[in-house]
């Protein structure tokens, strides 16, 4: 696809931490953000503003909406360079906008420019991206100038009115015919069997219809019709695929350290308002931790929150579980002792993706909560001690958990402490020193290197500059990414009459992301509907 002009850009910065390589990966600069973080939902801002995060989202080719949040004082002091860069870049668009919020933004920009007029800017190259989760940014619907079959290559070429070109393999087009014989409309699922797909099919004819769709007749006279927008979104170019994947999975993360102001949202609002729920879930995905405030200080609230998503994940510790100091504790969490930084449940091969912890009673003394960004710590380890990183991303470690709770259990698992995907990207941390098994399935010569590597990782996560510490109050619910964060608590002494009491629940990311996609659709209306096969025109 020939590159076409950018239509959006967003940047997220933390007010109390100017961009430095240690905090934002891998080199925080406008180029990085524009290439890797094209979308960030403005709905998230109300909670971020409270906690010191700032997001800029603006569009360079769309008349509306332009959203700009001026930084608070602390931010302004640290971030002149950013403000200046962004202001200059955005100005041509801003100046054409009648929006009051943009006027406010412009005012802030001007102030910044005056304060840092001579700052030398890096050229910013922006790629076209689907801005995932951002507000609808109406762009002219994609229409086709021309379509033709390249019979030799078995590709269909679409030339777009805006000058780009997309290529689609015949096989893929036939495979994804949207007619009622090939697709069960009620389930949006493929009926066409793989055994019936001619993977060497030709194409009898192809044309653009009067209503701007592509109509194909296949050699057996079967006919397929494809919507222009539907095709555009499925363009096989790197940029289009990258945008689609970011829309579907929101894999971009914002790393943090001890200076993080944990994003907050209101428990009741999250339960009852899709906008608030979207803000919560986006922050949970991007930052990995969000505090919900204002829940009743009684059991049952994490279950309500799980119902808001869909359903919770039952485990051997029950539907929800009570973190208290118990006699004959079947888990180290059920004592009053210190819990070192850990992820929950690495004794499962698929640990719960998301955890909710609701404070019902707090301790008289101690019991402060701690958290670190495990992905960020892994990145630090990779930089400081590549050998240790290689060790923890390659060796499989045994975990075990035996006891009785919801019922009796004897769990065993093998997990890598730092799990990576096939491209080496960190996807999950699996580490709980309490349930790491005495069975260690390594040849003798790998044992000491394993301990050395694990110790190096633990030492990094225990550095004061990396650990966020907070004290939960009755009614607070901390929601966090259990695949990414390591959490712990200090030892405590309870009030004689009231035990420290947290109630917890687990969910999985697939279900949480499903709810995120649904509330995003609800918030952004039909034009943003993610019914991918619905033939609705989606604005890109």
């Amino acid at each position: 696809m020939v590159p076409s002009p950018p239509n959006s850009l967003s940047v997220l910065l933390h007010s109390h931490h100017p961009p430095v390589p240690n905090v934002c990966p891998p080199s925080i600069n406008p180029l990085w953000f524009t290439q890797r973080s094209p979308g960030f939902n403005p709905q998230v801002e109300p909670s971020f503003l409270d906690s010191g995060w700032q997001t800029f989202i603006f569009s360079t080719c769309s008349p509306r909406p332009l959203i700009f949040f001026a930084g608070d004082k602390a931010w302004e002091e640290h971030s002149e360079m950013w403000m200046s860069t962004l202001a200059r870049f955005a100005r041509p668009v801003f100046q054409r906008s009648p929006s009051p919020v943009v006027c406010k933004a412009m005012k802030a920009c001007r102030r910044m420019e005056l304060r840092a007029p001579s700052f030398c800017m890096t050229p910013v190259h922006i790629r076209r991206h689907q801005t995932l989760g951002s507000a609808p940014m109406p762009v002219a619907a994609h229409s086709m100038r021309h379509v033709r079959a390249l019979d030799e290559e078995r590709l269909m070429a679409v030339e777009w009115e805006d000058g780009g070109q997309s290529l689609y393999p015949f096989t893929w087009l036939r495979d994804n015919c949207q007619c009622p014989r090939c697709t069960l409309q009620s389930a949006e699922a493929r009926l066409l069997l793989m055994a019936d797909l001619d993977i060497h099919t030709g194409m009898d004819s192809v044309e653009v219809t009067k209503d701007g769709k592509v109509s194909i007749v296949w050699p057996d006279q079967h006919m397929s019709v494809f919507d222009a927008e539907w095709l555009k979104k499925r363009c096989f170019s790197d940029a289009a695929r990258q945008a689609m994947q970011e829309e579907l999975f929101l894999n971009e993360r914002y790393y943090w350290d001890a200076t993080l102001h944990i994003p907050q949202a209101d428990f009741q609002e999250v339960l009852h308002d899709d906008g608030a729920a979207l803000a919560w879930l986006l922050a949970l995905r991007r930052v990995g931790i969000v505090h919900l405030k204002g829940a009743p200080a009684e059991q049952g609230q994490v279950a309500r929150l799980a119902e808001r998503i869909g359903y919770l994940r039952l485990t051997f510790y029950g539907h929800t579980w009570q973190v208290q100091d118990k006699s004959m504790a079947n888990n180290v969490a059920y004592t009053s002792g210190k819990l070192s930084l850990h992820t929950d449940y690495p004794a499962l091969h698929f640990a719960p993706g998301v955890q909710f912890l609701h404070c019902i009673n707090q301790a008289k003394e101690g019991g402060e909560s701690e958290a670190v960004d495990g992905f960020h710590m892994a990145e630090q380890l990779q930089r400081e001690d590549p050998e240790a990183f290689r060790t923890l991303t390659s060796l499989h470690v045994d975990f075990t958990d035996t006891g009785t709770d919801y019922c009796d259990f004897m769990l065993q698992s093998k997990n890598r402490i730092i799990d990576v995907d096939s491209e080496g990207k960190v996807t999950r941390i699996n580490y709980n020193n309490a349930t790491r098994d005495s069975v260690l399935d390594l040849p003798l010569h790998q044992v000491q290197p394993f301990y050395r590597a694990l110790r190096a990782y633990v030492d990094i996560m225990n550095r004061p500059e990396n650990v966020v510490t907070y004290t939960m109050k009755p009614g607070d619910i901390v929601t966090f990414d259990n695949w990414r964060l390591l959490h712990g608590r200090k030892s405590y002494i309870s009030r004689p009459d009231r035990l420290r009491h947290l109630e917890g629940a687990y969910l999985d990311w697939d279900e949480v992301m499903s709810r995120l996609r649904i509330v995003r659709r609800n918030v952004h209306g039909d034009a943003w509907a993610s019914d991918k096969r619905s033939h609705l025109h989606r604005k890109i």
Copy 2:
């Protein structure tokens, strides 16, 4: 560890299929089995005998018990070579045994030997293995002749009475101190923090105590005591680790094709008898599919079966789900159409590991069930078309599932059609053509190779010699490995007054394996207790 004499060997053969490379991987011969399938639980035999499977388990250095199941007629006709080989090998042990079952076995062996006296046997080298899931085979408890610290290497060396030697790193020993300060006994979990572990520790002294344990004093005068059996099982030699891993995870699989006689068990017995439950779960793990007979033909039975394990896995299709022909079906399964071979739920990143399907009403016409061994098919693909195998084990494919059932959902996932571990071993099949997304995140040049590879795999699984076909009757429950099997059904016509009706439920392998370990411990008594930290002497 110096090799010591073997103590057990087991072999599993199918009566209606003499060993050929196409059916049993990778080269079915005594050597292969002794190296790779050292344990198979005799408890499973009652159900296997019905379906044509035979297992031989015998011990070459233990006085009891020797278990031997004579083949049925069909087996004997095909398997003279095996019987002869096994009989000759086992004879010295058999002859010393007073067991009636061994007498029966010997009789069968003699008959075989007479019929194939001149068969030339391959020398059989047997390695020492923990026989997982087999009946307890009492061997003299391991006792230590001598223990010493190799200070330079920071290793502790144990010389065993039987002549072997094991080495244990100081760090690992200190890390796994079993004292109440270092281990929370009630949870069998480590209290010692990684930050407090000296990974360069020395050892002040080490000795064998009067009661045969290892006692270590560390430089800070902390003392650790280890049981001999506990240490022996955790020996770092390849053989000991392999045996332990097989005991923990039972990863060995028996591959099959269309000739499979599906193992059967009685529903009520499985619910109420641990021996029957163990037989069921072992066959489910090793073979991947078991029919349970005799369930009431009414809803609720798969939930009862899931409770027998622990709990079922809730999904967006509900706690359990009703497979019927529904109007506005939200899934292709909820029609009367043909379902091509598929795994369930690849639109989740962690598809359910185990599936139960209970027949309540069968169709008037059609509706036969089909199944193939996806791991076996993957092996065939790898042999016949290595390029296609590489493609399906490396490319990530998008799946999608959108609709409303338990609640509304918009699922998206990326999975490899043939999932492999870091060593290239197939661990899970993810393939449902209905929910394979029209979004295909591949560069253009990989699209056609992907279709070619997928078609090659599908063509292999559709070969008549690979597909097992069966018709479920009301009261039948098929239980199968959803990570391994692909299943389908033929289209059907229901009786006008009674819809075809199956009820289904999902579970995960971690929970199923947990129950398997527990019933194995129950069946084999305390001596076989898998309480790994309990210091009970476990007989190896």
